[in-house]
């Protein structure tokens, strides 16, 4: 816990036009004695699409979960310049209260491997829930926003269906619309195609591609689909044993990996395909 008390060398906030949208500074995540991520440093620029790859247990999903769901044991996370994991108390960084975390996380959207749509609400209801209940939008305004987004992901015809009546690919597209309805500055995609049947993966990757190319949304994506990551990422980070083993532009990392572990991982993935 000593890391928590020595925060004086971390800036209170990140300023300047070049400041990253997301910044992990020396972040450590432990579950009990198990260190999952150790001293992670990672900056994601505004509008950047970063893919996170690596073997299971490498900590790649934990990177996203720290931003959205969990607390950290060391270092500081910033979102859009402001500390998320901590807060400024009279010029000192102190660990964030649950309320501060929740407020900071309003700027972040997240989609999950198993969609996690609310089963008792329609597709439209799922997309209106956040804007109405959290942002305090009127039902009318929230409905218009939700319908625009469902249109964008190609699900407007199914707006009144409950999730149980939608296929996996359809559910995931609704889940993306639900996350976007909060107008997040950052979108986290946690293995969003891993639970899908092969023939519907394209529906979801097509939507993500649109978000990247048309809307320049800042995205952090954990994925097992190397081809897709290579296709749309600005940068790919290869995680191994709780650290970034290697990172770079997809063309470099995939065709000319420098580290032995990266080479092993990529050739193992390739032979599995």
């Amino acid at each position: 816990m000593k890391d928590l008390h020595d925060l004086s060398h971390y800036p209170l906030k990140l300023e300047g036009p070049d400041r990253p949208m997301v910044s992990f500074r020396n972040v450590t995540k432990r579950y009990g004695d198990l260190v999952v991520l150790d001293g992670l440093n990672l900056d994601v620029a505004e509008g950047e699409m970063v893919s996170i790859i690596g073997p299971s247990g490498s900590g790649k999903t934990t990177v996203l979960r720290m931003l959205m769901l969990e607390t950290i044991q060391g270092g500081v996370i910033y979102v859009d310049g402001q500390p998320l994991s901590h807060m400024d108390r009279g010029g000192m960084l102190v660990p964030a209260t649950p309320r501060h975390l929740r407020a900071g996380r309003e700027q972040i959207g997240m989609c999950f491997q198993h969609f996690n749509l609310f089963p008792h609400m329609t597709a439209l209801g799922n997309c209106m829930e956040g804007p109405v209940q959290v942002l305090g939008m009127s039902k009318q305004a929230a409905r218009e926003r939700a319908e625009d987004l469902l249109e964008m992901v190609g699900m407007i015809d199914k707006r009144d269906e409950h999730p149980a009546r939608l296929s996996g690919g359809q559910q995931q597209r609704v889940a993306i619309a639900r996350a976007l309805a909060m107008r997040p500055k950052v979108l986290l995609l946690d293995e969003v195609t891993s639970a899908l049947d092969p023939e519907v993966i394209g529906e979801v990757t097509g939507v993500i591609k649109k978000l990247v190319e048309k809307y320049r949304l800042t995205i952090m994506m954990v994925t097992h689909q190397m081809g897709f990551a290579a296709d749309i990422s600005d940068r790919v980070c290869f995680f191994y044993d709780g650290r970034i083993e290697e990172q770079g532009a997809p063309a470099d990392l995939f065709s000319n990996p420098q580290k032995e572990r990266t080479q092993q991982f990529l050739s193992a993935v390739k032979s599995a395909d």
Binding site: M68, A103, R105, L117, F118, P119, H120, E129, Q133, A164
Partner: protein, 221 residues
Amino acid sequence: MSYLDFLRDYGPRLLDGTLMTAAQFLCATVLAIAIALIAGLMKLSHNRLIRTPAVIYIEIFRGTSLLVQLYWIFFVLPLFGLTLEKFTAGFVAVGMNLGAYGAELVRGGIQSVPRGQWEAAYALSLSPAKRMWRIILPQALVNMLPPWGNLLIELLKGTALVSLISVADLMFEAKQINGSTFLSAQAFGTALIIYYIFARLIVTPFMRWLERVMARRIGRA
């Protein structure tokens, strides 16, 4: 005396008793649901100061006899300055007792909602209260309706005990009729049938209907 004569003479009293039983049932049900919800949520709290009272409550009311609880509430509480009307004491005892069982159903129902639902609700930045009320509880409710159907039948049968503090319910009337006529088979037999009809033809079908409605609302049917 034929059974039809018996019904003609004593039917109205048995009907009055049945209405009293129905009133006890409804009041106790409302109380049990409210207590179950509050105690079930409290038991899930991470804060010991909130959790402990719920644990103690559930232990006491599940671990001791309903009849003793009823006598406590009606005969002992007045010694501490709290006197309840016998009608009130009746449904309060039954409601508090079954509410303790219901609290465990609420807790189990909430815990059966997949973790991904909590995470998705949190990821939308819903406040803890809205997370519970709008996302988790509606799903928990669907999961816990079938055991609640059982519990309400237990509750109905439990209301027969209020006759012991002279609430003029169905059981009380049957006992009175038996006492004055010694027509035990007719009196208690009719009571038996009415309790059965109440449980099987009113409570159970209503719960089945509610299960169907809720399943439809969640898109499962």
